[in-house]
Amino acid sequence: MRTLFDKLWDAHRVEGAAIGGHDLIAIDRLLLHERTGGVALKSLAEKGLRPLDPKRAFAVMDHIVSFREGRDRDEARSPGGGAFITETRAMATEAGLNLIDTDHPSQGIVHVIAPELAIAAPGLTLVCPDSHTCSLGALGALAWGIGSSEAEHALATGCVRVKKPKQMRIRIEGRLPPGVTAKDLALHIIANYGANGGNGCAIEYSGEAVADLDIEARLTLCNLAVEFAAFTAVIAPDEKTRAFLEGKPFAPPSNVLRQRLETDEQAVFDREILIEATTVSPQISWGTSPEETISLSGRVPTDGREKALRYMGLAPGMPIEGVPIGGAFIGSCTNGRLSDLVSAAKVLRGRKVAEGVRAVCVPGSQGVKREAERQGLDVIFKDAGFEWGAPGCAMCFYAGGETFAPGTRVVSSTNRNFEGRQGPGVRTHLTNPAVVAASAVAGRIASPSSLPVREEAA
C-alpha cells in the first residue's frame, strides 16, 4: 500500500545508488532562473562539466527582470541586475538549454509558466533552485526546491541525492465558504500549525475542498507549502489536471495524462491533519513570519512577538481591519495567475485606489497578461489607478532598486512577509488578491464586502 508520493519516489529511484540512507532520484525536468540558476551554470562550466541532457532543462528570466511595460531585453529592476540576465542567457545558450528569455512570448515566473507550458505534469520529477518549486506538486508532480550546488549536481548527473522525507496528509473536508480562497486555506493552516508545522514532510493535500479547487487555486495552495517548512506538497491529478494540461507544448501524451496516480486506500502517513473547510475565513498576516496570521476580522494578538509588532508598527489587540496602508501589490507565483487577477478586477471595476496608495499589478506571465488584456482586465486595473506591469517576480522581493518607501504598509498577494522582503523597512501583509484590491480602494486593510456599493450598481 503506497502513497502517491511513494509512487512518484519509487518510479524515480535509481537502483543500487543510495549512499548513507540518501536515495538517488532521477530528475525528469530541471528549471533554472537567472537569480540562482546563473551561478549554478557558471560553476558547472568552471568545473569543466556539461549538462547531461540540456533539452530537459529550462532557463527562465523572471526574478530580476524589469516590470516596466515596454522594458528592454536586458532591463533589470535592480542596479547591476542586467548582468544576471545577460550572463544567464549566455551560459544557458552555450549549454544548449531551453531558454525562455525576457522577450519570449511564454516568459514569466518560473512556477507560473511551468504549468502553463506543461513542463510540469503528473508523474514527473522536477527541481529548481527556488523554494517555491513545491507549487508544481499541484499537478501531481514531485517537485521541490534545491540549492545552487544541488542544481549543478542535477544538471551534471540528471539526478538529485536526497533522503526520503516523512509524509503528512492534510485532508480538507467540506467546502470553503464564499470569498475564502486557497490562499486563505494555506495561511490558515500555517497560522494554526506554525511555520515549522510541515517539518520537512512531503504533504499530500486531499479531500473534498481540494478536489473542488481549480488548478490555479491548487497551485496557490501548494505554493505556500514551503512557508510551512514542508519538503514539498502534492495533489493527486484528476480530470481537471488532465483538461488543464492537454495540448500544452510540453505535455505528456493523452494516454499518459489519463493514467491513474493516487494514494492507495490503506496507505499510511506519518501524520494526518484534518481541516474543516467551513471553519476557514479570509486571512491576513500581521507579523514577519507567515505563521503570524489572523482572520481578516480578527485582532492583532496580545501575546504576539514584540520584535514583529515593532517592525510592523502595530499594537497588541488592535483590529487589523482599518489599519491605513500605503501600498498594494498583486502578482507573484502565489497569486499572479489569471483567476487571481479576475478576482481583484471584480472588486476594482468602477472603483478607484485611495489617494496616497501606490498600487501595482504584475501578471505572473506573458500568457496571463495576454489573456487578462483580452478580457479587458488591464483597463479595469489602470482605470482604478493600478500600475500594470510586465511579467516577472516584480515587487514580491526586493533586490535593490525601486520599491515602496521604508515603513510603507503594503497589502500583498505574495507569500513572504519577512522583514525587508519587499524593501528595507517595508511592512508586508499577506492576503488574497480580492482583499488586496479592496484595501487599495479603501486606503486601509479592508474586506471586499466592506466597500461602499458602486455607483453604477446603486
Binding site: K55, G145, G147, A399, P424
Partner: protein, 204 residues
C-alpha cells in the same frame, strides 16, 4: 570542495530568535553579482548595519558584540534558514567564518546547502540553545557526535546527524564526483525509462 570537518572548537554567537529566514541571512540586495564570492560583508546586513545601504554597525546586534568577536559557531532557534533557497546564505556564513550552525531545527533546503559547503548544521531540538551565553566557547566532535559547552559549568550533548551528511562532511567529499562514479546505474535507469516514457526524451 570543502575542507573535511572533524572537530571544531570556537566561540559562538547566539541569535535568540526563531524562523531566521535566508532573506535575513543575506538580503537579496547584497547578492550583487553572478558569483559565490564577496558575500561575507552582506551577512545579516539588515540587522547588522544601521542602514540598508550603509555599513555602520548596530552595536547591540549579537554578532557585533565584543564577546562574539571571531565567532565561528552560530546558535539560533527553530526553523533556521527557512525561506528562499538561495545558497548565498550559506556562502555568506562560510565567508564570514562560520563552520557550525546550531539550531532547534533547520529549513530543509538550507540544511542541504550547509553540508555541501562544509558547514555542520547541528540540530539540538528541545535543548533551549538560544538561552546560551553570547560568546560562549563550544567544541564539536562530528565523528563522536558530541558537543561540549564550555561555560561556568561544562555541559555535554549528543547530537544526531544522518549518515550521508556525516560522511560528506567528515571526508570533505564532492557530491557530483561521487554520483558520477555511479554513472552506470544512472544510464541503466535512463535506458529503461526511455522505453517506458519515450515522449519525455523527445518532447518539443
Amino acid at each position: 570542495m570543502a575542507e573535511p570537518f572533524r572537530v571544531h572548537r570556537g566561540r559562538a554567537v547566539v541569535l535568540p530568535v526563531n524562523h531566521v529566514d535566508t532573506d535575513q541571512i543575506i538580503p537579496s540586495r547584497e547578492m550583487k553579482r553572478v558569483s559565490r564570492e564577496g558575500l561575507g560583508e552582506g551577512l545579516f546586513a539588515g540587522w547588522r548595519y544601521r542602514e540598508a545601504s550603509g555599513r555602520e554597525p548596530v552595536p547591540e546586534f549579537p554578532l557585533n558584540r565584543p564577546e562574539a568577536e571571531g565567532a565561528t559557531i552560530l546558535v539560533s532557534g527553530e526553523n533556521f534558514g527557512c525561506g528562499s533557497s538561495r545558497e548565498h546564505a550559506v556562502w555568506a556564513l562560510a565567508q564570514y567564518g562560520f563552520r557550525v550552525i546550531i539550531a532547534e531545527s533547520f529549513g530543509a533546503i538550507f540544511r542541504g546547502n550547509c553540508i555541501r559547503n562544509g558547514i555542520l548544521p547541528l540540530s539540538l531540538p528541545g535543548k533551549d540553545c538560544t538561552q546560551w551565553r553570547n560568546g560562549v566557547e563550544i567544541s564539536v566532535d562530528l565523528e563522536a557526535q558530541k558537543l561540549i559547552l564550555h561555560d561556568q559549568t561544562v555541559r555535554q550533548y549528543d547530537f544526531d546527524i544522518d549518515p550521508y551528511a556525516k560522511k560528506l562532511l567528515l571526508e570533505g567529499l564532492e557530491p557530483i564526483a561521487m554520483t558520477l562514479s555511479q554513472s552506470e546505474s544512472i544510464e541503466e535507469f535512463i535506458e529503461r525509462d526511455k522505453k517506458m516514457r519515450p515522449w519525455l526524451y523527445s518532447a518539443a
